[in-house]
Amino acid sequence: MAEIPDIAAAPPARAGMRALPYLLSLPALLVCIGILVPFGTAAWYSLQRYNLAMPYLRGFVGWAQYLDLFTDPSFWQTVKVSAIYTGATVGVELVLGLAIALLLRERSWFNNFVSVALLLPLMTAPAIAALMFKLMTNPNFGVLSWIIGKFGATDFRWASAPSSAMFTVVLVDVWVYTPFMMILLLAGLRSLPQQPFEAARLDGVPARFVFFRITLPMLTPYIVTASLFRLLDSIQQFDIIYAMTQGGPGDSLLVFQVRAYLEFFQYTNVGLSAALMMVLWAITYALSNLFIKQWLKLRERTHGAH
């Protein structure tokens, strides 16, 4: 960064030039500051008893709302469901994405075709993807229901049974986002220096050894960045779950954002929904700090030529 020549200072420096970078970047910031106000509001609401249906009961309760939340089993159900969803999606997507990236590593027309074809799920809106799977798992005509029925699973009820609802939404998430992992890891694999691999081949090092001792360590920055990126998005998943079951059946899919949405619009409990969102924000804030560090390292590697 330090070597970026300061072109503001190079030609005859004028006072106006010093303000220039601010003038250029402030409009973007100002537009977003308007959106920061609601963030402060949410923090403030989370300290209030505030139900839109009972405005006369509104009042400052301080941390009581959080204490209520942390002693409420339904909050821990939300934590549990979110953790399972996040762990399952990121885990499966990482393993599957890495495997596919390894298969596609060589550049050939067929490999390029496959990696372009895999962009299609990723570019499908997640809410629409959930809708597609809803049609395909319909008990009356869904092709997936019919296929597993042929294998004897006639009472598998996909998203409408509490026992299989999680599996169904994770499946949709895996369908949409595995290509994300694959694409980043493939870009990483193809950017690795070739010498270690050539040396290993000349020495006749077994493939398993090459993978665990050379490929994996060199790929780690990409794996960490891509996983943290998915982790951040997955823990905030709303579209797929809302479009599929609106958090049901029962409380089986009430992840953070879906529950906050229902608390707000169904139970008009603004205070509680704000507190839920603040908890989620604290989690994502910690994760995003981790992520940005990794992301910056990769970015410097990519743009680090100067």
Partner: protein, 285 residues
């Protein structure tokens, strides 16, 4: 590895075939459904060979569904129009705000500069509902709820960080020497910016714009909360479709196809830049 080469190639081919089936089958199946009548869809086992009908698309485009219970109005084209309008306007505004800011962050080192840049980046990772729920109350007071202006403003949360960080990378990659020489010739920074810097970063700006368009198009939650039926894009409209009574499955499938075709086409066109866009400019494809 040489001894098992043949076996290895067969296994690899099988694995890739399975991958292709898993990721393409849902799209292919919905395409088939969108050309089927309700009777064909309800037949078991499912048919792959059938006489295709365009009735589903015709119903969506004409906006009238003929059902047993009578004619039904379908505002789906309106949803499609809303998607086009919201995504285009949001990206245009983002480019207008984001490109100069990206230039400032790439070319100047200034106090708070990095702080501003990272604040803008952090919007990408904050839970959207944290902001949206209080915002929905504010929007009611400000008269912005259910307006295009309000929605386009909120869409900046997804478009702006993307454009800012990708375009910044392109400005950083272009050597400032050319601009410097041009400025020494006595031209203003504005001319250096518009005549040298922007054309050099042109492909990056175009790519960032296309990607921001795709992400804006695919957004679901903003309009779900801040807009009612007449302002909603296809993502929300298609969902409302499922719960509407009397809608036929083939029409849902056709609506899904019309909703995803624009982004799929753009993605194929912009695939070269997709890796960069998805990693917010950190990895190049």
């Amino acid at each position: 590895m040489a001894r098992t080469d043949g076996l290895w190639r067969v296994l690899r081919g099988l694995a890739l075939a399975a991958v292709l089936v898993f990721f393409l089958f849902p799209i292919a199946w919905i395409v088939l459904m969108s050309f089927q009548t309700n009777e064909q869809i309800l037949q078991l086992p499912p048919r792959v060979v059938f006489t295709p009908t365009l009735a589903n698309y015709a119903a969506l485009i004409s906006g009238k569904l003929h059902t047993a219970a009578g004619d039904l109005d379908v505002p789906f084209l309106r949803n499609l129009g809303n998607s086009v309008l919201l995504s285009t306007a949001s990206v245009a505004l983002s480019l207008l705000l984001g490109v100069p800011a990206a230039y400032a962050f790439a070319r100047f080192r200034f106090r708070l500069g990095e702080n501003i840049a990272f604040t803008l980046l952090s919007f990408r990772f904050a839970p959207p509902l944290l902001v949206l729920l209080p915002l929905s109350l504010y929007f009611q007071d400000l008269g912005l709820s259910n307006t295009y202006v309000g929605l386009i403003w909120v869409y900046q949360l997804i478009c702006l960080p993307l454009i800012l960080w990708i375009v910044r990378g392109y400005f950083e990659d272009a050597s400032p020497d050319v601009e410097y020489a041009y400025r020494v010739d006595g031209h203003s920074w504005w001319r250096a910016f518009t005549r040298i810097a922007i054309p050099l970063a042109g492909p990056g700006i175009a790519a960032a714009g296309l990607l921001a368009f795709i992400f804006a198009w695919n957004n679901f939650v903003f309009a779900l909360i801040l807009a009612s039926a007449d302002k909603q894009p296809v993502t929300v409209g298609a969902l409302a479709f499922v719960t509407a009574s009397g809608i036929q499955y083939g029409q849902i499938a056709a609506a899904i196809m019309l909703s995803i075709l624009p982004t799929l086409a753009l993605a194929l066109y912009a695939q070269r830049w997709l890796v960069e866009g998805l990693s917010l400019g950190a990895v190049k494809g």
